[in-house]
Amino acid sequence: MNRDDFPILNGDFIYFDNSATTLKPKCVVDKMVDYYSKYTSNIHRGDYDNAIKTNEEYDRVRDIVKDFIHASDSKEIVFTSGATESLNMVAFGFFKNILKENDEVLLTMAEHASNVLPWQVLEKDGCGKVKYIPLDENHELTVENVKKAITSNTKVISIAHISNVVGDIRDIVEIGKICKEKNIYFVVDAAQSVSHIEVDVVKADVSFLAFSGHKMVGPTGVGVLYGKSELLKEMLPLKYGGGMNQSFEIDGSYLLKEAPIKFEAGTPPIAEVIGLGEAIKFIQRIGVAKIHEHEYSLKKYLLDALADMSNIVVYNKNSKSGIVAFNIKGVFPQDTSIYLNHYHIAIRAGNHCAKVLKEELNIKNTCRVSLYLYNTKEEVDKLIEVLKNSEDIFRVVI
């Protein structure tokens, strides 16, 4: 659906790498070009018309994001460079100051690097201990296993809402409830979910939530950190500079502004923030429920076809998102992706930044097809046809 909104799709090109980044609709690009060609100025400083317009456009996006993730206050929305920075801010700006050596941080083996490494670094510094909640036989996270993994030392649970290889949708509302009962901080990486399914930070009672603009038809270089007001108040910035301070004096004293401004030192990615607002409006016009229904129906369609092909192994048949992780038997995933590129089909081969998942899947690398709103049944048919004819794969790739 909405293919006409994506100029890049005018041509012989099938894009199935949406978990890495999504394509951008013309309205998002136009909105950013407008800022650059019609009213460029910095924010929060000027008194001239263009500066006032920039302020309005920029500040409005905080409200758009707030409504999109159902936060209670737009002051809980911090603009960052992306989910990675958001998660690092949470680890090093908040948890570094409160975690004791024996406090447990619960993750899963299917987490992205940006939700594992910061915690490992903290652990090395004597802040918390990383533990992994076991996944079920489909490599998915169940609420039951979350309950079982919690001990009296558990201080934080930090998980993806949708994991980026298995693609399972975690029940964050239920897990949020458990965290509240047990007084555990709940951090959610929503990079793979926020433009695919409903995210409600209040319903799930999350402490912090992170996502990126570029995985939701928006620009690169911008993302969001949501944090509960009382936690953002405690959290320290990792960057200091212009815009975020109230005052600083020659005697060394200084006063910071309140959240979210105290986390946005320096000139922010203004065009990108404005583009992000337009991206969210685009998604809202279609509706995440409709997007999810579309991509999941395409996944089921693809799985049905792959089930008949004895040369294909699928690793995540069960998960309810638009992600299919697979391999052609006896073929290294990179060779498969080079083969598919020959037919102008873009997929991803690798460990998808989930480097501890190999312990679960017993395989390091997979091919990943990740579907999105603009993908069609015809595109999936083309993929199936090319995979069916893959006995000549080495004639193509060598």
Binding site: G330, F332, Q334, A349, N351, K364, N365, F394, R395, I398
Partner: protein
């Protein structure tokens, strides 16, 4: 070179690579090498005695080009002096990078003389030579 022959040599070395499997032997020097731009990742171990390469083995996960090139390169290097090996590596890298090279000393490695046409696979073909080069450098220490 005939395309069919070229493909057969590469495919044979990919599907049945020689010298695959690491050894527990402290007389070997071991190096891990990987590519930033793709997922090739190999460990190589080399045994050098009196300036001569006595043995090389490898293991890891890598694509058809990288795995086969490792298998062929290892065969070309075993039995050579370190100086001879460096000349082979130098000429091999020049071939992949479209610079002047002596094809007569590369033997079967000449099957990769078309890799430059796929720029994203140059790094795959070069990975084993980077591994061997860093081991040779280490052996000088």
């Amino acid at each position: 070179m005939d395309e069919v022959v070229r493909r057969e040599i590469i495919l044979d070395n990919y599907q049945h690579p020689m010298h695959k499997g690491l050894v527990e032997d402290s007389s070997y020097i071991k190096k891990n090498t990987n590519n930033d731009s793709c997922i090739d990742n190999i460990d190589m171990m080399m045994k050098i005695k009196d300036g001569i390469i006595e043995d090389i083995v490898f293991d890891g996960e890598a694509c058809s080009i990288c795995t086969s090139a490792t298998s062929i390169l290892i065969r070309n290097l075993i039995g050579k002096t370190k100086e001879e090996a460096e000349i082979i590596l130098n000429n091999y890298q020049n071939m992949i990078n479209e610079k002047e090279y002596d094809k007569d000393i590369l033997g079967e490695l000449n099957v990769y003389d078309q890799v430059y046409k796929q720029p994203n696979r140059k790094t795959c073909a070069l990975l084993p030579s980077r591994a061997a080069e860093s081991i040779l450098k280490e052996s000088d220490k």
